[in-house]
C-alpha cells in the first residue's frame, strides 16, 4: 500500500489549534492512522510547522481558501435553498402556464362564438338585403306597370278631351242657335 506523507503548511490565520488528542510518535510527529482515514470527523486544521505522519492509503490536503469554498458548498447543499427555490419556480411556472393555457382556450372559444355570431349576422343581413332587393325589383315592376297605365290613361283622357271639345262646340253653338231662333220666333 502506497503511503503518502504530506506536510501541510496552513496559513497562520487559522485560529484552531492542532488537535492535541492526535496520537504522536516518540519524536512528537502527529500520526494520522487508518482510523482517521475512514472516520467522519471534522476537517482538522494544522498550524504552521506541524509535522504529520500519514498512515492512510491516501489523504487530500487542501488550503484554507479551498476549505472555505468547500464548506460554503456543503452549507448550500445542507440548506437545499436552491433546490427549493427551483421547485417553487417550476411550480409557479407550471401554474402560470396552466392559467395561460386556460385563458388561451377561453379566448379561442370566445373567438369561435364571436365568429359564429358574426357569420350568422352577415348571413342574415345578406338574406334581408336580398329580400329588400327583391321587393325593390317588384316595386320597379309595379312602377313600370303603373307608368304604362298612366300612359294609357293619358291617351284615353286626351281622346276624351278631344271628344269633349267637339261636344262643347256643339252644345255651345246649339245653345246660341236655340237662343237666336227662339228670340226671332218671339219677336215675330
Amino acid at each position: 500500500m502506497k503511503k503518502i506523507t504530506i506536510i501541510l503548511l496552513l496559513l497562520s490565520s487559522l485560529h484552531s489549534a492542532a488537535q492535541i488528542d492526535d496520537p504522536k510518535d516518540p519524536q512528537g510527529i502527529i500520526i494520522l492512522s487508518d482510523t482517521f482515514c475512514f472516520s467522519n470527523n471534522k476537517p482538522t486544521p494544522y498550524l504552521s510547522g506541524t509535522k504529520l505522519t500519514i498512515q492512510c492509503d491516501s489523504v487530500y490536503i487542501i488550503n484554507k481558501h479551498r476549505y472555505i469554498l468547500y464548506e460554503k458548498a456543503a452549507d448550500i447543499i445542507r440548506k437545499k435553498e436552491y433546490v427549493n427555490t427551483c421547485n417553487v419556480l417550476i411550480k409557479n411556472y407550471e401554474e402560470r402556464l396552466q392559467a395561460q393555457n386556460k385563458a388561451f382556450d377561453n379566448l379561442y372559444k370566445k373567438y369561435i362564438q364571436l365568429d359564429s355570431i358574426s357569420q350568422r349576422t352577415i348571413s342574415d343581413t345578406q338574406n334581408s338585403l336580398i329580400q329588400v332587393s327583391n321587393t325593390i325589383t317588384a316595386a320597379q315592376s309595379n312602377i313600370v306597370v303603373v307608368d304604362k297605365k298612366m300612359d294609357n290613361l293619358t291617351s284615353t283622357i286626351k281622346e276624351q278631351r278631344k271628344k269633349s271639345f267637339f261636344d262643347k262646340i256643339w252644345f255651345g253653338a246649339g245653345g246660341i242657335a236655340v237662343g237666336i231662333i227662339g228670340g226671332l220666333i218671339i219677336a215675330n
Binding site: N40, N87, V132, Q140
Partner: protein, 123 residues
C-alpha cells in the same frame, strides 16, 4: 202674347245664349287638370324609380362588402385555427420537454439529497 211673358221668354233665351257662349269660350275642362296631375305622378314615379335603382346599386355594394368581410373572416378563422393547433402542438412538445427537465431535476435533487445525507453523517 202678354208682354211680361215675352220678357220672361227673352230672359230665358238670353240665359241659353249666355250659357252657349260661356261653354264655347270660358268653360274649364277638368280633364286638363287630370292630365297635369298624371304628368306630375309620372314625374314622381320616375324619381322613385331612380331612387330604387340607386338603392339597388347600394345594396349590391353592401352585398359585395359583406362577401369580402365573410371571405376575410374565413381566412382569419383558418389562420386562428392553425395558430391554435400550432400552440397546442408546441404546448405538447413543451410539456414533454418540461417532463424531461422535471425528471432530470428530480434526479439532481435526489443526488443532492444523497449528498446532503452524506454531509449530515459527517461530524
Amino acid at each position: 202674347m202678354d208682354k211680361s211673358i215675352k220678357i220672361l221668354l227673352y230672359i230665358v233665351l238670353g240665359v241659353v245664349v249666355f250659357q252657349g257662349l260661356f261653354t264655347l269660350f270660358f268653360s274649364h275642362s277638368q280633364l286638363k287638370d287630370a292630365l297635369n296631375e298624371i304628368k306630375e305622378v309620372k314625374s314622381n314615379l320616375k324619381v322613385i324609380s331612380d331612387s330604387l335603382v340607386s338603392s339597388k346599386k347600394q345594396i349590391g355594394a353592401i352585398m359585395n362588402n359583406l362577401d369580402n368581410s365573410q371571405t376575410k373572416m374565413d381566412l382569419m378563422k383558418n389562420q386562428v385555427d392553425v395558430l391554435y393547433l400550432d400552440y397546442h402542438a408546441n404546448e405538447t412538445k413543451s410539456g414533454i420537454e418540461r417532463k424531461i427537465i422535471n425528471t432530470e431535476l428530480k434526479e439532481a435533487e435526489k443526488v443532492i439529497d444523497d449528498l446532503k445525507n452524506q454531509l449530515d453523517e459527517l461530524k
